[in-house]
Structure formats: structure tokens, C-alpha cells
Symmetry: C2
């Protein structure tokens, strides 16, 4: 057993500085747990002159602009990749595995896109490969799913896994501000990037759901398998109707597996206010897991930030070093064992919310409801209000559980009806205990 | 590596039957993870004739009334103790360790009382000893704390760790029913025992907090170190005032560690409705962890029940078998490293809620508030209502943060005032973001 384990860092940005300062600060705790010291020997930076939150050089970490100094250093056993981006990070990690170094990464984009290839290389080189920080920052959700539910069958995962969109939607719900204004506030507070596309279009959440789905269901989910709808088109009207009906709008990552087919998507959905996910506010993240034996469990916490993410990275480093000492490296979070088959629309079931405008004439609602009934869709709740145009009414319905195929067909038929002026919005409804 | 690992079961009650049926059901998943089969070879029962939920005999498990058949069977590597009780279970586990068998238990009473002794024996015999199921049933909280927060300093843990009392208090809060009626309902639904003393007096929660505190702070917490107040004396009046003030009453297990002194207690407390613990309803459990780096994280789920508890037991068995295969048994959740020192009342700080009756005379309130001010206690909120007796007023105050010592002194002084008729209640207030 080594007296001291040297790790190398790729990237000293927000997360990387956190890693250096946490390892420094908790030397005693780490030494107690591991029986050895942990030392960040060298770190790859783009510009060593640039001032950093942690003055890495002072703490005994050599800064370098050449990745080979980290990847080819025989003293370094563990490489931490927190540089971000795809291609450069992918190549660096593959080189690290070839040099028999264990890898810990926080890079969800990379793991979602190239997870299979990286796992394969790790296995081939008998290296450890962990990425707890890639999903929901400081929340130990990946280990929770793989270890905590080891003997259970996970049926469904629902997650609020993007803090930016949750912050925006919380503002919209609680303060009635528009999407644009809420986004501006989020940007001012640092919860949204200057270019918020990856967050608000749902891509960031989709990457995390691909990773979560893979670990929960033990099957490879590709990013292309994840259906994505962003939050840009959400209207305050639907948040207000939702509120009247006891529902809150959230960007929900949804993954379901029945032992055969799998379904993964990210979309704004209305969720019952009684459901614990409805109470997850602002920039917080939470993942709700339905296990056959365990029942419902939720993991809640900060989904991003320098220190939470760095803490998750180091929890992986601790696992790796324990494995090294025991001589059992080469283990992964989990080895997929199922062939993936995606659910068709006829196999996907949910309750739905539809808002539309129809002519305010006798008999209209009866024709509409018989259209739905023919497709086996019945209504759980109906709201009808006069609209600005005196000849039309605004109608909101919440259906009982129906297949997505039937729902889509019903919406097509509905649009064709002369009495229907416009279909305004259509959302899934989750978390209804009577569903 | 063995093709098949035999485990022995002590007790085939609610949890034990769950263990047998889950291991049976998830053979394929377990075999995939472990590379071997898992087989419950024999099980200790009190009465083999008694009908059981799982007909253990049929599934190839031998039933025996002699514990030696399990503890001395050389083929059995792992002993699962789910018989409950203290002395018999303690002796059986010590014998198992002496016979070099790894032990998994769900027995919180035993771990809280004799954890140190059992850990010592496990270490001496190089055996694994895990008890994930002992706290919060199916929620993987112990592993979450020890592995997920490996590189973090946990500052505080607040838990709703007893489902019975949470069910009763949810009923009282939401439906305004009395403690007695809520308890009756809980008993009818099976959420409370015929003799509910251990639950409603807070002892069950205290045991779990002793275990949680030990793992979170890496120091031995004795059950005697945990200050306990039960829920029997809670009055609806205080729930209603709390509601007006934006607070919900919960039985909160509280553990705090500042790196030097530790504080662990269980008591009914008022918690801000904005805090995620306030939304934990009915029989659900949740543990809220404050880590220096990770920030706030919550683990939520079913705290009891046959299947959730059995799933937690098996997650421990999976850990043990992985350790066996790697030849690294003898590991524990965590080895305490700090000497315990309890906080004195002058080192314990909180906000407080006090309800009392005072004479409805000019100048009374000013005398009362100057009494508090002299002890450095200021008020954050004040409610005054006329009481049934026209000469007295009912007063509720919420203080800013104050030391428990000053609060106790203030209450003593308050009681001595001629103007004060009666002090009715006194609770901690938690979860105030402005505190």
C-alpha cells in the first residue's frame, strides 16, 4: 500500500480549483479513511498565468500546459478530468486508460455521448472509471442507484436534473414573471450561462437522463434515444391553470423500464403539488426513484457549483484509492446487461393536460369528449373559461391515463374539428396518486 | 471466487421473509453483479410450524430452531440478523464473528446500544459488519453519508426517522385531529404498534440518531448522549399557531458537530414550511444533511416495511460478497476517529417558540421583553390573542437565535413574574433561512 497517492488534474476551472482546495483541506479525513495521503501532483491548465481561485502552484501542484505531463507521469495513478468539452477530453481519458491510470470525470456531455467507448477502454485496461459528479453535482445519486438499489428492480426514475431551468420555472411559477425575465434574473445570479441554449433546450438534462437511465436499468441509453423538449415555449397561462388544478410545472427527466422496453425523455410536465418533486425549488436538483422493493425514494441537493461538484469528484477518487489498495481496480459503476429496446408510443402511458380554444356553441364539448372517448381517453378534470374573443371559450382538460399514441391521434382529430380554433398546449401530468 | 455464496438467516419475520423472497426474485441481477449465486441456506425460526408469508422451506431454505445450525455451519459465510431484540441477537452476532462469518443486521436497537462492542469484534475477526437497514429502512442513507460525503465535513444532520410519529403528526397538522385519535388511526393502518411507547416517546428515533451521528461525525455516540422528548404532549394549539407563523411541527432528530463538540437530540420542533423536511408526510422518512462542501442534501423514502428494509439488508449482503471476492473483508462503514465531547447548553443555539399566558395589563409585554433582552434574546415574531379568561392574553413568541442556556434561564425568570399565569409550551424552531 502506498503512503501517498498522486493524482493529476486536467483543468483548473471552477470544479478543478474546488478539487484542489478540498483535497488540501480534508487531508486528515482522507488519510484516516484511506490510510494514505492524497496529493494533486500536477494540473493541466490553458494559461498558467491566469489568476485562479486557488493558487495551485503554491500548494505544491505543478501547473502545465502540456497534457502529456499529467498523462505520462508514472507517479500519477488517478487522473481527474474536469476540463469539459468533448473531443479533447475523450482523447485525454483514452490516453490515461492506455497508460493504466484510473479516471474520474465530471463531464456529463462526454459520458452521455461516449460512455460505452470509455467503459470499454477502462475494462480492457483494468482501470477504474467513475463519474458521480456528472449527474446532479453533490448528490450521491449514481452510487445511490447502483449500490443502494443493488437487489431491487428500478422501475422508474424522475429527475429535476437541471438547476438553471428549475430556477427559471420556480420564478415563473412563484412570481408570475415571463420566461424571458426569469432567464435574465438567472443569468444575473449566475444560475444561467450567457448562452443558455444547452440548459433551456433540455440537452443538459437529456445527457444526465441518459447516464441515469443506463445505471438504473443496466442498459446503454444513447443520447439520441432521449426525446427532448425545452422550456422556451412555456406560457404563464399554463402555469396558472396548473396551479388552479393542483399542479406545478417542472422540467422532468423521465426514464421508465418494464424489464423489456425502455423510455427516456425530458420535457416540461405538470406534476401534482402533493409529489415531493413539486417542492424542489430554485436551483436545486432531485432524483425520484421508484424501486419495486424499496418503493419511492428521493435524493435531493445542489446540482451544481464548485464545491458540491468537487466533493462528488473526490468521493469517486476515494473509491478508486480504496480499490487500488485492495487490488481490485477495473470495477465500474455497473456493467450494462440488457439489450436496449425503446418503447413505442402505444407502450407509453401517462395522464395529459391539453389547453385549446373552441367555438362557444351548444354541443361543442360533447363532440369533443366523444372524440376522446372513441380513443379510450376519458377526462379527469375540465376547466372552461370565456376567452378574450366572445365567440370562443378556452378549455383545459386533464385526462386519465392514456397511451401517447391515442393522445397524439386525439390531438390530430381535435385540430381537424371545425369547432376547434386552436390547440394551445399539451403536457404530461405526473405524480397523481389516483392515476 | 465461489460459484455460490450461502447465507444464514436469524429470524423469518416481516423482514426475514422479505429477504428470502427478494434474493429468490433477483437471482439474475445478483448473479450479474456478483458473478455468483446467493442462496439462503438455513434460517432460525422460533416455530417452524407457523405459517409464513414466504414458505421458506419450499424454496430450499432449511428451517431450524437451533441457532447453532446457522452459526456453526461452515458453508455459511454471511449471517443476516433480523430476529430483533437485544441480548439474544447480540450473543448470536458475537458468535458469528467468532466463527469468522460476516454479519448484516437491521437491528437499530442493538447497533445503537452495542455498536462499539460489535464493531470491535468484527475488526478483531476480520469480518464485515453492516447495518444499512437499521436507519430509515429502504433509504441508502448510511452508505450515502459514509461514501457520498467521503471528502466533506458533515456539519449537521436533521432527520425525520420515525414513520409512526410522522404519520401521527401529519394527521394532527392536516386534519386537526387530536394526538389520541391520530394514534388510533395509525394503529388501525399498521403504522403504529399496539404498544407505541418506543415510537411516540422518541426512543426509536434516538437510536437511529445515535447511529447516524456516529457515522456522520466519526465519533461514538452513546444512546445516553441523545436527549429525547416524545410527541405525547403536543397540543393542537401549537400546531395551529405554527401554521399561522409558517411552521410545521415534526419530530426532528438533530445532530450537530463543529469539529469539537457534538450535540444529538430528538424532540418535536417547528420547522419552516419552506424547508424540504416540512413536506415529508405520513409514514415517510427523510434525512437532511448539511455538508461543508456539498451544501444541503436530502435522502427521502420509506422508513420501514418488509420490502424496503429487506432491500437495504441485501444491499449490505452485496457489499459483503463483493468484499469477499476481492479478499478485502473486515471493512466497516467507518472507523470512529474523534473523541466525543458533548456540547453544553451554552454551546447549543437555535431559534425558539414559546407560548404562555399573561395578565392582560398595560406594560406587561414590555417587562417580558426586557427580561428576554437582558439575556440577549430578541423576538422575531410575536402573536397575542385574547384567551378564554378575559383577564389574560395568550402570547406566542418566536425568538432570533439564542443559546439554550439563556433560553432556559429566560423561561425560569418568566415563570417567576407575577404577570405570567402559565408557560404552556416551548419548542425549537428549525429551517429558518434568515436565522
Amino acid at each position: 500500500m502506498k503512503d501517498s497517492v498522486s493524482v493529476g488534474l486536467l483543468g483548473v476551472g471552477v470544479v478543478g480549483s474546488g478539487v484542489i482546495s478540498l483535497i488540501e483541506k480534508h487531508q486528515a479525513k482522507l488519510a484516516h479513511q484511506l490510510g494514505c495521503n492524497v496529493h494533486v501532483k500536477s494540473a493541466l491548465v490553458r494559461n498558467p498565468e491566469k489568476a485562479r481561485e486557488v493558487d495551485a502552484g503554491v500548494n505544491g501542484t505543478e501547473l502545465t500546459t502540456n497534457s502529456e505531463d499529467v498523462l505520462n507521469d508514472p507517479e500519477i495513478d488517478v487522473v481527474i478530468e474536469v476540463m469539459g468539452g468533448i473531443e479533447e477530453a475523450r482523447e485525454a481519458i483514452l490516453k490515461a486508460f492506455e497508460a493504466k491510470k484510473h479516471v474520474v470525470t465530471a463531464n456529463k456531455d462526454l459520458v452521455a455521448l461516449h460512455g460505452a467507448e470509455l467503459h470499454e477502454s477502462a475494462t480492457k485496461n483494468k482501470c477504474d472509471f467513475y463519474y458521480e459528479a456528472s449527474v446532479a453535482g453533490g448528490i450521491p445519486i449514481l452510487r445511490g442507484i447502483t449500490d443502494g438499489f443493488a437487489s431491487d428492480h428500478i422501475e422508474q426514475v424522475m429527475g429535476i436534473v437541471n438547476g438553471t431551468t428549475n430556477y427559471i420555472m420556480t420564478k415563473m411559477s412563484n412570481e408570475g414573471v415571463s420566461y424571458e425575465d426569469a432567464l435574465k434574473q438567472a443569468q444575473q445570479l449566475g444560475f444561467a450561462e450567457a448562452d443558455p441554449a444547452a440548459d433551456v433546450e433540455g440537452l443538459d438534462a437529456a445527457r444526465k437522463m441518459a447516464i441515469l437511465g443506463r445505471l438504473a436499468f443496466s442498459t446503454y441509453i444513447d443520447l439520441d434515444d432521449v426525446e427532448v423538449t425545452g422550456i422556451k415555449d412555456i406560457e404563464l397561462t399554463d402555469l396558472q391553470y396548473g396551479d388552479q388544478l393542483g399542479l406545478t410545472m417542472k422540467l422532468i427527466g423521465f426514464a421508465k423500464f418494464d424489464g423489456k422496453e425502455v423510455e427516456v425523455n425530458v420535457q416540461p410536465a405538470l406534476i401534482s403539488k402533493e409529489h415531493p418533486l413539486a417542492d424542489v425549488k430554485n436551483e436545486y436538483n432531485a432524483v425520484y426513484v421508484y424501486g419495486e422493493a424499496v418503493g419511492e425514494a428521493m435524493f435531493y441537493g445542489a446540482g451544481a457549483g464548485s464545491m458540491p461538484t468537487a466533493a462528488a469528484v473526490i468521493s469517486d477518487v476515494v473509491t478508486v484509492i480504496k480499490n487500488m489498495h485492495r487490488g481490485v481496480t477495473g470495477s465500474q459503476f455497473v456493467e450494462p446487461r440488457f439489450k436496449k429496446e425503446l418503447k413505442s408510443e402505444s407502450q407509453r402511458f401517462s395522464q395529459y393536460y391539453v389547453r385549446f380554444h373552441a367555438k362557444d356553441e351548444a354541443g361543442v364539448f360533447s363532440r369533443i369528449s366523444s372524440l376522446f372517448n372513441k380513443l379510450d381517453i376519458s377526462f379527469k378534470q375540465i376547466l372552461q373559461n370565456p376567452s378574450k374573443n366572445p365567440d370562443t371559450a378556452e378549455i383545459v382538460v386533464i385526462t386519465h391515463t392514456a397511451s401517447l399514441q391515442n393522445m397524439n391521434e386525439a390531438l390530430e382529430e381535435l385540430e381537424k374539428l371545425d369547432e376547434v380554433v386552436e390547440i394551445n398546449s399539451f403536457y404530461k401530468v405526473e405524480g397523481d396518486a389516483d392515476a
